[in-house]
């Protein structure tokens, strides 16, 4: 490298940095993939909401499904609730994880607003929440037929999220399931 070229080195390094920063502008630092992606749902042993039947991992496996973390104290959960019901009406299996909530309040909520969930796990202490790496409701996990976590969405699930993010993945997994 000639002595003149060496003087261009700072400029060159700066250009690299600028490219990186440009790229960085289009990344969302708040978007956090779950640490559990492609790993099986953690084992648990928790009562169902409403009756004291014990639920385990096996109750959630068998087909591609959504696992929705919700609570009555969570404002955004109320926002996404109607859309979850719509989804459930189209036949998509949704399981609920009632996270750090009182059973009575949760049951009241379901009675008032309708119940999109096939089953509801009552995670009163948030133990399964911690094992899942939940950091704030609502979160929605996409599980495949064998109970492996494939995707996590943090925040409200609405039409846009479902159409652009969750549905394609859901259909893909569904496809894989029907043609083993």
């Amino acid at each position: 490298m000639g002595p003149r070229l060496k003087l261009f080195l700072p400029l060159f390094l700066f250009a690299l940095l600028a490219i990186l920063l440009f790229r960085g502008l289009f990344l969302d630092p708040s978007e956090m993939p779950s640490a559990l992606i492609d790993r099986p749902l953690p084992a648990f042993d928790l009562p169902a909401l409403g009756d004291d039947r014990l639920l385990t991992r096996a109750d959630l496996t068998g087909e591609v499904a959504l696992l929705n973390v919700w609570a009555t104290w969570c404002v955004s959960c109320r926002v996404e609730h109607p859309y979850l019901k719509q989804l459930a009406d189209t036949g998509i299996p949704i399981y609920g994880l009632n996270y750090k909530d009182s059973d009575a309040a949760a049951q009241q909520w379901l009675a008032d607003l309708g119940n999109p969930y096939r089953l509801n796990i009552a995670d009163r202490e948030g133990t399964l929440g911690v094992d899942l790496g939940v950091y704030g409701a609502p979160e929605t996990y996409l599980l495949d037929a064998s109970g492996v976590v494939r995707y996590r969405h943090v925040g409200v699930v609405d039409e846009g999220v479902w159409r652009t993010v969750l549905e394609p993945l859901y259909l893909e997994l569904k496809q894989g399931e029907s043609t083993p």
């Binding site: 003149r4 400029l11 700066f14 940095l17 600028a18 920063l21 289009f26 990344l27 969302d28 630092p29």
Partner: protein, 408 residues
């Protein structure tokens, strides 16, 4: 980061100005310092690092700053690349000389700044390459920064006594043998004041006393070499005084940081009125809780009486305020500041129904030294920059050209 490069710049400038050395390097450092402050603006305002301003939806502002950054920094670096040969210098100096020591300073500060830059951008790099999410936080910066700064101090002790252009190791040995021995003795004895013996503190004492003694020795010699102390004082240039003050500040900072991080004690406790807790030799007596009304808030105020060995030290009254307008609750910690330690008391929530409160008691020794040191460093830097040599040089240049004209 700009501070680090700025510090390197001040030192490199000294060499440029006194000896006509490192000219293009100094220019490059000046560009770096300015670029990094712009970069800081970008990183904070564009939201590439934190998602405070949900930026994915609005990349325009970030784009604007990025383009600005690109034009300004790219422009200056481009100009530098084209024009740098015009200011190159050809002055020689020996390996053992003040120039080399200043270079060491430059190397360390540059590496420190680049490391901080790299650490800051690292999560972004990893994310951009699609390799996941990582965090780089204060523990990393501490782990890297502290050894680098420690590396600097031996050189800082040598700096003031060293000579330009050429020096000899044997002369250094002669000058600094006694300061070195005294520094080691200080390092061994001073930490004994605070059991248990702490090696980090010993190291900090070693480094800063070495720095101080080297400085003191040089200062003393300058005064002595002039006829009379007053005369000697008058002969000290602002640049020199600035150096002494800034280096003193650095030493104070080192001691303050290490002592605070090693000797701080913090406890979160449940206390009933009437309870006394002991913390680092201070007894904190929780006297009572009172209701207080301020201009725009109501507060629960805890009354603490702090004593040491039975002697009264301070009354501390932390508050838990509820502002009437917004209804928001704020914790007002009580701080008792001192040259050698700060005491903090903060009020938490009531615990249980028997009048107990959660309290946080905090003892931080020498914490003021950090701030004092930082202030001294800033004052030193300004003093040095205000040296009229920088202005006189222009006059000298004018005078020189006149002489040349006369000569012609």
């Amino acid at each position: 980061m700009p501070w680090l490069i700025g510090t390197a710049l001040i030192h490199s400038l000294a060499a440029t100005e006194k000896r006509g050395l490192f000219k293009s390097w100094t220019v490059l450092l000046a560009i770096f310092a300015f670029s990094l402050s712009l970069l800081g603006t970008f990183l904070v305002r564009s939201g590439v690092l934190t998602s405070v301003h949900a930026f994915a939806t609005d990349p325009e502002r970030g784009m604007f700053i990025l383009v600005f950054l690109f034009l300004v920094v790219g422009g200056s670096l481009g100009l530098y690349a084209v024009r740098a040969p015009a200011v190159s210098s050809r002055v020689s100096f020996a390996w053992v000389s003040r120039e080399s020591l200043l270079l060491c300073n430059n190397v360390v500060f540059l590496v420190a700044a680049l490391t901080v830059l790299f650490g800051t951008l690292f999560p972004l790099i990893v994310d951009a390459l699609g390799m996941g999410k990582v965090s780089v936080g204060p523990p990393y910066f501490n782990a890297v920064f502290v050894p680098l700064m420690a590396l600097l101090v031996p050189v800082m002790g040598l700096g003031p006594v060293s000579r330009w252009k050429r020096d000899a190791v044997s002369r250094w040995r002669g000058e600094l043998l006694i300061p070195a021995i005294v520094a080691v003795l200080c390092a061994i004895t001073l930490p004994l004041l605070h059991a248990p013996y702490n090696l980090w503190v010993a190291l900090a004492v070693l480094l800063s006393s070495w720095l101080l003694l080297g400085l003191a020795k040089d200062f003393w010699q300058r005064l002595r070499s002039a006829s009379g102390a007053a005369n000697g004082l008058r002969r000290l240039t602002p640049a020199y005084c600035g150096m002494v003050v800034a280096h003193l500040g650095f030493a104070a900072c080192v001691i303050g940081i290490v002592a605070t991080s090693q000797y701080s004690v913090e406890h979160d406790l449940k206390m009933n009125p009437g309870d006394t807790r002991e913390l680092a030799g201070y007894e904190f007596r929780f006297v009572e809780v009172a209701q207080v009304r301020g201009p725009n808030f109501v507060a629960d105020e805890a009354r603490f009486e702090v004593t040491r060995n039975g002697e009264w030290v301070a009354d501390m009254n932390p508050q838990k305020r509820r502002y009437l307008a917004s209804g928001s609750v704020m914790t007002e910690a009580a701080i008792n500041a001192g040259l050698f330690r700060d005491l903090y008391v903060a009020m938490g929530e009531p615990v249980g129904s028997d009048g107990a409160w959660a309290m946080r008691l905090h003892y931080k020794p020498l914490v003021r030294w950090m701030w004092l040191g930082a202030i001294l460093m800033a004052v030193g830097a300004f003093t040095a920059a205000a040296d009229k040599r920088y202005r006189r040089q222009r006059e000298v240049a004018r005078a020189d050209s006149k002489v040349a004209l006369h000569g012609a």
